[in-house]
């Protein structure tokens, strides 16, 4: 087992563990923390695959901006104490079973694919670098990129309108 594989497994365990923490913890703040850890683990995976740009963006946008937003909201509303009422026990069990079924079915579907033997390029290859992605973004994908800025603008206006009193 070389260092890459070792890192892969460590990151995987962290990602899954913290993901479970999101779902299971009663306190929303812990959930947020678990999600942040998960994002970091995923970013670690990106780095392992030499997708440097996405790794950084992931941390900045998700772990930075979005999660801070979440925390803000939770703390603003003072929800950390608000333990949710677990009225419908069996609906939760059914939900868990349904989710696991989905997982099993998808894994089972994977078993018969040809693609699973293909290898993923680890550590090398420069498509994940800022330079090459940036060139792509501003040549081939320039129109979607500009449109996404419009999307942001509308999201901004939308959240202001919704959040406004009355």
């Amino acid at each position: 087992m070389n260092i890459t594989q070792l890192l892969f497994w460590i990151l995987t365990v962290i990602a899954i563990g913290s993901a479970l923490m999101i779902v299971t913890s009663k306190n929303p703040v812990y959930s947020v923390l678990g999600l942040i850890v998960t994002f970091f683990a995923i970013s670690g995976h990106y780095i392992l695959m030499n997708a440097q740009f996405l790794a950084i963006v992931n941390i900045i946008v998700y772990a930075g901006a979005i999660m801070v937003l979440f925390l803000f909201v939770i703390m603003l509303m003072n929800l950390s104490r608000a333990t949710e009422t677990l009225k419908n026990k069996w609906l939760q069990i059914v939900g868990a079973i349904a989710g696991s079924c989905l997982f099993l079915v998808l894994v089972a579907a994977l078993k018969n694919t040809e693609v699973k033997k293909n290898l993923v390029e680890m550590g090398t290859g420069d498509i994940g670098l800022v330079k090459s992605l940036g060139r792509e973004l501003f040549t081939t994908f320039v129109i979607p990129f500009e449109i996404s800025s419009v999307l942001f603008l509308s999201a901004m206006i939308g959240s202001v309108v919704i959040g406004k009193k009355e």
Binding site: L91, V94, G95, A98, G99, C101, L102, V105, L106, N112
Partner: protein, 635 residues
Amino acid sequence: MNNVLDIVYWIPLLPLLGCIINGLGRKSLSKGAVGFIGSGVILASFILSLWVFFQVRGGNVHTAEYFPFINVGNLKIPFAFQIDQLSAIWLLIITGIGFLIHVYSTSYMHDEKPEHFGRYFAYLNLFVFSMLLLVMGANFVIMFIGWEGVGLCSYLLIGFWFKKKEYSKAANKAFIMNRVGDLAFLIALFILISKLGTTTFSEIFTPASLAKLSAKEISAITLLLFIGATGKSAQIPLYTWLPDAMAGPTPVSALIHAATMVTAGIYMIARANLLFSMAPSTLNIIAIIGIATALLAATIALKQNDIKKVLAYSTVSQLGYMFLALGSGAYVAAVFHVMTHAFFKALLFLGSGSVIHAMGGEQDMRKMGGLSKYMKITNLTFLLGCLAIAGIPGFSGFFSKDEILAGAFAKSPVLYALGLLGALLTAFYMFRLYATTFKGSFRGTHEQEHHLHESPAAITIPLIILAILSVVGGFVGVPEFMAHGAHALSDFLHPIFKDSYALLPVHEADHSTEWGLAGLSSVLIIVTVIIAWTRFSKKPDLEPASGLGKVLENKWYVDELYDTVIVKPLNKLGSFLGNVVDKRIVDGAVNGVGRLVRYGSRQLRWVQSGQTGSYILMMVLGMVLVFVVQFFLRK
């Protein structure tokens, strides 16, 4: 109009027109107009038929195709008429007798309300139309239209006085019993179509197409056709509708019994004679059923007290004779007897109608008697009719019956002996009827006696014409042993039956035997007539019958037997299906579906909880399902 055969379609079309005019105008037309139109169209048809007859006699046989009636795949059934010797004779009988009955009806039905009067004539014309269609059709399908048409018209006319429940029941009985036979006819038709692909007579009755049928198939087809004929022509086991058909007005009985309807079965078998000649086993069955019906009906007629019932059973009996003739291969004799029977049976029925008219609707002959004093013409014509049907030498019935008996003798002496017995019974009950009705002293109420009168001319003239025909009608078929080459009818019909003659074994009894047979039957019949006359004119049997007489009076309890064996179980089955299967199962299923949907939707409503969580759960489960299905499908 070079040739009348080109306008032959007017023969059935005129009665149809009459039916439409009378039927639609029954409320606005006066009785005189209705009677004039109703009788006039039949007279016109009769004149055309007469013309056609002479054309056919001159050797012109005609087939006319008017339009394609059924065109399905390879099956092409044209609407076509065929005029040949056989149909020409029937045309004359139907329109001739039919015309007399129409004229008679104008007087007989005069007490009806105008709209019923119009309705009556519309039905009567439709009846004649259907019968004409039946005999003119050039294929089995057109024949079947007429076949069903007469069934319908008999239903309408038997139930003419539909307000009386038992009359409607009699109409239903006639219709349903006919339907049983029709089913067999229809199946025979289907077999013909499936085996030969055609129903046209001229195509079926050729050696080439008959060769395609195996002996078994021919037996099956002929048997089914014969069952169809038993329904229409009132033979065992489907005869009980005919006596009940007396519920209709008397002229209708005359029409059914003499000119139309019951002779349809005979016509059909005579038309398909080649087919029947190829199936000797069917011929045997026909002969046996024929003689059995003849004897059964004759014994029943011995003890009936209703004047029309006696005549009805005598019709069944005479029809039995005709089937005996057909079964013996004596086709000409059957046709001959149809003709003479049409004359004297129409005469007898119209005569009885005249009597009933005079008696103010009374039909029980125990309450009559001595009518000869009051109704001279009716009495005389009725006597002539009785002599004719009894088979007194010189009258028409003698010739035709003698020919049938000769044919039966050729087939088997046993059949001859039974046939002779039937003839004696016929003579006996007819003169019992005559003597009880017209001789002795009057036994009705004083009021009725006062009312007794001779019927008007519209009734007596047809009686006189029919009486003349009944007397002389037999001379078209003087048998070979009496005068050589005098059997005009046989010569005329020879083209129709010649192929059958080639098939059937010929038993030519020598002339002395035939003289002997004719002499024997004549002597016995005359003796029977004298016994019956003397016995019943002095002392009519008024006492309630006992022993065997009671059985006969109750018609051998055949109606009761049918009632128990067929009608009641069917009714039970019907009420079971109606009350249990329909209400519980069918209705239950229908209501159950409704209730299930309502229940299901009420339960399903909870799925729409409005809770996002449950929607998502559904979505996930759906995804899983899709994956699983796809997973299994791929393998």
